[in-house]
């Protein structure tokens, strides 16, 4: 709550009435200082602890934990798993990102139905999402590791190509695509810097800092949420949680971020 209040105070000071030219540098400096302050305490720690608990807790009709879940590096291996996702899984015969794989394990190991497992993909003021805890825990276990999702299986290559097409797909009343905001360097919306996801440096910086604790929302948000909310702002219909399009796009973006050191969960405004 304290952090949220600080955010509000900053927004108010930024929106002040001093002449623009004199204030421009100060504003940028203030934002940099605000971001620095945020780094000192990231509440995502709390989500990580909750996620680890959820991972180890026996749940569902089969009363099983997720500790036998194979995230790609073998059953139960969490360390480093996120840095090599999305990837092809032979047991499901398709490419999966982290959230999709978690749903797979919840249904196969714990016995939940798909509908039960995906009932709350994103948390709100009234209900928390298990996924936001789980992804916080699992991605933190790849912190410092280089993004190295495989691109060797035919289905991984296909997902990449589909994701690329979707990234540049223009539609809706505003003609927006992902690329409208994320394919040129050094641009911003209002004062918000936009990563150019087609360039390695920007793509690495952006991809490796999701999931993230969003100060403005008081929640850890996953990569699935990031895409869901981008499409909302693109004026598209709702991107379904763990849908094939969401996995293809994540595959495309993960490849663009290849080599970047994971630094998630991060903290963002």
């Amino acid at each position: 709550m304290k952090i949220r209040a600080a955010g509000v105070a900053l927004v108010l000071s930024v929106a002040g009435v001093l002449p623009a030219v004199a204030q421009e540098r100060t504003t940028a400096e203030e934002i940099a200082r605000y971001r620095q302050l945020l780094q000192d305490g990231n509440p995502a720690d709390l989500w990580e602890v909750r996620g680890e608990g959820l991972w180890k807790q026996k749940r569902g009709p089969k009363n099983a934990s997720l500790e036998r879940c194979d995230l790609g590096l073998g059953p139960g291996v969490v360390k480093g798993a996120y840095a090599v996702l999305p990837r092809y899984f032979a047991d499901a015969d398709r490419v999966m990102d982290l959230e999709t794989r978690l749903v797979h394990c919840m249904t196969t190991l714990q016995g939940f139905s798909f509908a039960e497992a995906t009932k709350t993909p994103y948390g709100s003021d009234v209900v928390r999402s298990d996924f936001e805890g789980l992804v916080a825990y699992i991605t933190a276990e790849s912190r410092g590791m280089a993004m190295n999702a495989p691109l060797s299986h035919a289905k991984e290559k296909e997902a990449y190509r589909l994701g690329e097409r979707m990234f540049f797909f223009r539609g809706g009343p505003h003609d927006f695509s992902c690329a409208t905001c994320h394919s040129e360097s050094g641009r911003r919306i209002r004062l918000q810097d936009l990563p150019n996801m087609t360039q390695p440096e920007d793509a690495k910086r952006a991809y490796t800092t999701w999931p993230a604790y969003r100060v403005s929302q008081g929640e850890v948000r996953s990569m699935q949420w990031r895409l869901f909310d981008c499409f909302r702002q693109q004026r598209f219909p709702e991107l379904a949680f763990t849908s094939e399009a969401s996995i293809a796009l994540t595959t495309y973006l993960a490849q663009k971020a290849r080599g970047g050191a994971m630094d998630a969960p991060a903290i963002k405004r």
Partner: protein, 205 residues
């Protein structure tokens, strides 16, 4: 704004070298996958995934060949012909109302109330006035738009056309077609044009 890079051609060679589907097949499959992956919600129905010719031809990755000059000209000509100017010839509204529309970002999202008028959100991408320092840089600065270009009727018509349909001037512009796609009403566009064209507007100070 169009995007074509040489880097794209290199990436194409790398990716296409090991792929089994043709580009046309990938395009069709990506559309099928998208239609299966989105759910209608609120005012955002699935028909928003049905592209018109502009959207289809402007959905280009850096790995695609650039849009052919002939296609570019055809698009611009067709979009230009579809611009509707007000029947009463009145192009300028109230710049104060225009400023509010320029500041407002809601509208057409599934999270928006469809009975609330949409905004233009001009500041998201453009500098407009000296007073508003929170502006984006996806589009060019419009500060002193008419002061630099003139206040005459031709410029007013040009400003109307650009807001109504930027594709009528620049093929594959990133800017929304506010009039053509029914985002803003005729009256709202009048106000935005006044914000750009009125001598008293802070845009021209």
């Amino acid at each position: 704004m169009t995007r074509r890079t040489l880097a794209g051609a290199i990436a194409l060679t790398l990716v296409a070298g090991c792929a089994t589907m043709s580009d046309a097949e990938v395009r069709q499959r990506s559309l099928d996958v998208m239609k299966a992956s989105f759910k209608e919600r609120g005012q955002a129905k699935l028909d928003r995934l049905n592209q018109d010719e502009v959207q289809a031809l402007c959905s280009r990755a850096p790995t695609d060949p650039p849009l052919a000059k002939a296609d570019e000209e055809r698009l611009v000509t067709a979009q230009r012909a579809a611009i509707r100017y007000p029947a009463d010839g009145r192009l300028l509204g109230d710049w104060r109302e225009g400023e509010k529309i320029a500041q407002t970002g809601v509208g057409k999202q599934f999270s928006d109330n469809p009975s609330v008028p949409a905004g233009g959100n001009c500041y998201a991408c453009h500098q407009m006035t000296k007073e508003e320092i929170s502006y984006g840089t996806i589009g060019p600065s419009l500060y002193q738009f008419a002061k630099l270009r003139g206040y005459g009727e031709d410029m007013q018509k040009y400003a109307w056309g650009k807001v109504y349909n930027p594709q009528a001037y620049t093929a594959c512009s990133t800017m929304p077609r506010f009039g053509h796609n029914g985002i803003l009403t005729e009256d709202q566009i009048r106000h935005v044009v006044a914000l750009l064209m009125d001598k008293d507007s802070p845009v021209n100070k």
